[in-house]
């Protein structure tokens, strides 16, 4: 009995020592962290916590909370975990600080690729990329002797074959939930058709040929989706895959690992990861590269900023990546791309553009999300929908002040 207790005490001691060892300094300044809640952030913040005095809050409403929380004086969080699009409001409000001097002090392990520069100053640090790319059922495609689709026309042909063979009634999955998700898919396809959203002076140019082609292609794909596709987001598509209901989808790389999770998935080892299909033959992959990372609040003391950044460097250290290599497509030194990174790397390698996070784009994304559904539910024609999107954007842009 005594021996057992001693043993467990030693184990506990050992555990805390090794956890302490993850951080190479003892932090004395209280730091509050807010970040999105998904596995990669759990890994990073767990490493940050080992420095001591770090209080972590992970949730999915970070986008709504951060602008107000960082505008407070002093800011409610020193450290804000964010993504490419959620940095824009913070930059607009001027509530995050340039990091150049802190990088000089603590950023020896950072790679040039991780530094998010706005007008010469580093305003945020990226730690991982996220991209939607093609996942498909290797076994289904092989059974029907279908090749890996490289563009959406080929994918449509494959889908028709799968449906005709009676393997699945709705072989396609899509993150087409009305709102942000549907808009993101539109943006991906639109760039695939070489569309551009704005002319000089932020005038919307969405009502063109590329817009019509995008809508037509998305509608063609939706014919192979479960009819309730307008309520389907990434979780839905992931589950459809895991339950063997769909054979292909353009899905976030962060979802790749879940396909082989034997606890949830019935298709372990059967999903292949490939680069996002091009919108037309010979085009670039129709997807956009997003990054996740963090920024440091401006309305805090320099000592706090110093401590927050120092702790953050422990969070995104090469040791953390070594221990959590499969949790994300890390941009951090020491990352070894595994099988789940193949599709993302191939997409980026073939020239998928970064998501162009600007104020105008934020307004356009919102206008797209609010107005696309009417086209897919058949209430409006493509021309009407694009006209409404341009009008909604114009109203919002004038209200915001970026359009004269």
């Amino acid at each position: 009995m005594l021996k057992n207790m001693l043993l467990s005490a030693t184990i506990l001691l050992g555990a805390s020592v090794s956890a302490q060892a993850a951080c190479n300094f003892a932090n004395t300044t209280p730091i509050k962290v807010q970040a999105p809640s998904f596995p990669a952030w759990v890994a990073v913040t767990d490493y940050m916590k080992t420095c001591g005095n770090v209080q972590v809050e992970l949730d999915l409403q970070y986008k709504e909370k951060q602008p107000a929380a960082l505008a407070a004086k002093p800011a409610l969080y020193q450290f804000a975990g964010l993504a490419v699009n959620s940095l824009v409001p913070l930059l607009n409000d001027g509530t995050v600080r340039p990091l150049d001097d802190l990088i000089a002090k603590y950023g020896q392990n950072l790679q040039p690729n991780q530094l998010i520069r706005i007008d010469g100053k580093v305003m945020a640090i990226a730690m991982m990329v996220n991209v939607q790319h093609l996942m498909y059922r290797r076994d289904v495609f092989a059974d029907l002797k279908l090749a890996e689709p490289t563009n959406y026309d080929e994918l449509l042909t494959s889908l028709a074959a799968i449906k005709k063979a009676g393997v699945m009634q709705y072989p396609m999955g899509g993150t087409y939930k009305s709102g942000w998700d549907l808009a993101t898919d539109f943006v991906n396809m639109y760039f695939g058709f070489e569309g551009s959203f704005f002319g000089a002076g932020n005038v919307p140019t969405v009502q063109g040929d590329a817009g019509l082609k995008t809508l037509a292609m998305m509608k063609a794909l939706s014919a192979y989706m479960d009819p309730e596709f307008l309520t389907s987001e990434a979780n839905t598509v992931q589950q459809q895959f895991q339950r063997g209901k769909i054979a292909a989808a353009n899905l976030w790389v962060t979802r790749a690992g879940a396909m082989d999770d034997a606890k949830e998935s019935t298709v372990v080892g059967k999903i292949a990861f490939a680069k996002a299909p091009a919108a037309h033959a010979g085009g670039k992959p129709a997807t956009t590269v997003w990054w996740d990372g963090f920024a440091i609040a401006k309305n805090i003391s320099d000592a706090e900023a110093d401590a927050a950044f120092h702790v953050a460097m422990q969070g995104i250290s090469p040791e953390m990546v070594k221990a959590n290599n499969a949790a994300a497509i890390w941009l951090i030194k020491g990352y070894e791309p595994g099988k789940y990174a193949v599709g993302a790397a191939a997409s980026a390698g073939a020239g998928a553009p970064p998501y162009p996070a600007t104020t105008a784009m934020g307004l356009m994304h919102t206008a797209l999300g609010a107005n696309l559904a009417n086209y897919f539910s058949g209430r409006e024609t493509a021309e009407q929908t694009l006209a409404k999107i341009a009008a909604a954007y114009t109203v919002a842009a004038k209200e915001k002040g970026i359009l004269k």
Binding site: K63, E64, P67, V84, N85, V88, P89, L90, N92, D93, G94, N113, Q114, L115, I116, R117, I118, G120, A126, Q169, K177, G179, W180, A200, G201, N202, D226, P227, E228, L230, T231, V289, W291, K298, A344, A345, A348, G349, P353, P354, A357, T358, T359, A360, M361, G362, L363, T366, A370, A373, F376, S377, E380, K388, A396, K398, E399, K400, G401, I402
Partner: protein, 341 residues
Amino acid sequence: MRGRVFLGFIAPSLVLMIIFIALPLVSVAWQSFHATQGVFEDVLVESCTPGFLTQTCVKEMQSRPVMQAGVAVTSTRFVGWDNYRQLLQPDAVADAFSPTGHGMSAVLNIDFYNALRFTLSFTLITLPFIVGLGLLLALAVDDIAHGLRGPVIFVTLLPYIITPVIGALAIRWLFVGDGVLTDAIRWITGHDVSMFAQGWTIELMMLFYRIWHIAPFAFVVFYAGLQTVNKDTIEASVIDGATRMERLRYVIIPHLMPLIVFVTMIHLMDSYRVFDEVVGFAAHAYRISLQWLTYSFLTPDQTGNRAVARASASAMLTMLGIVVLLLVPLRRTWRDHRGKS
């Protein structure tokens, strides 16, 4: 000094009403006629974002907010009816009804009218069902043996106790793509049903849900009313040979009339602000309500911006709608009130 005593008693409540209702209302009205804009400048910005393994840098014109002492500069100005015009889009409506227009269907594609149409039909269709069903339940429970009433009342009240969003979600999960009930229907009929693939089925479910949820409220009110029906009058009418229907029509309903008006008014106000159903059923791709429209304006967009001005205008219009809707029952009670005094 009765007037003074009266004033003394209502003063605290009056003060609170002014602070928490009147002043916010004035502020919303004020905001609905103003617009706040950021001040932006166009600058050539070089920004770098990570690709995979290499960095992508672009130089482009971007609109950047003008900063003063670290705070973005904004300007607020009076815009008259602009916010209302953006909601109501009178030009688009005129277009729709011009000879070349698409008529009503084009009007209903404008968010505000789409929301108004749904909100109104939602309110007016559920109303008779809730009053009728509540009355039926009350009469039925009033008829059963005393010993059973407690448990029956409890069970009948259950739908009303459930948190609206939870109830809506529960029904949604029953009927969604591969929910328990849809699978059962598929198994029985051999047909694949998709309740969430078109607007009218979702609308039907929302109507059903609201009736299921609120009818118990009407039931409790009517049941309480039934306990105060004069037993002598009932017995007298029985002796006079009145049938059950006649008793209901000439004795019970007139007795319950004030309660029916009460339930009607509460329900009109409540369901004109329908919101939970739209969220719970994730219906916004197909059906939106006026309250949801206001909410969507207030939700920060991808730039962190809230369309406060348009939200205020939409809130004002919603309020106006409730007042108009309540005029009918209110006029009736007013007449009754005057008739009695």
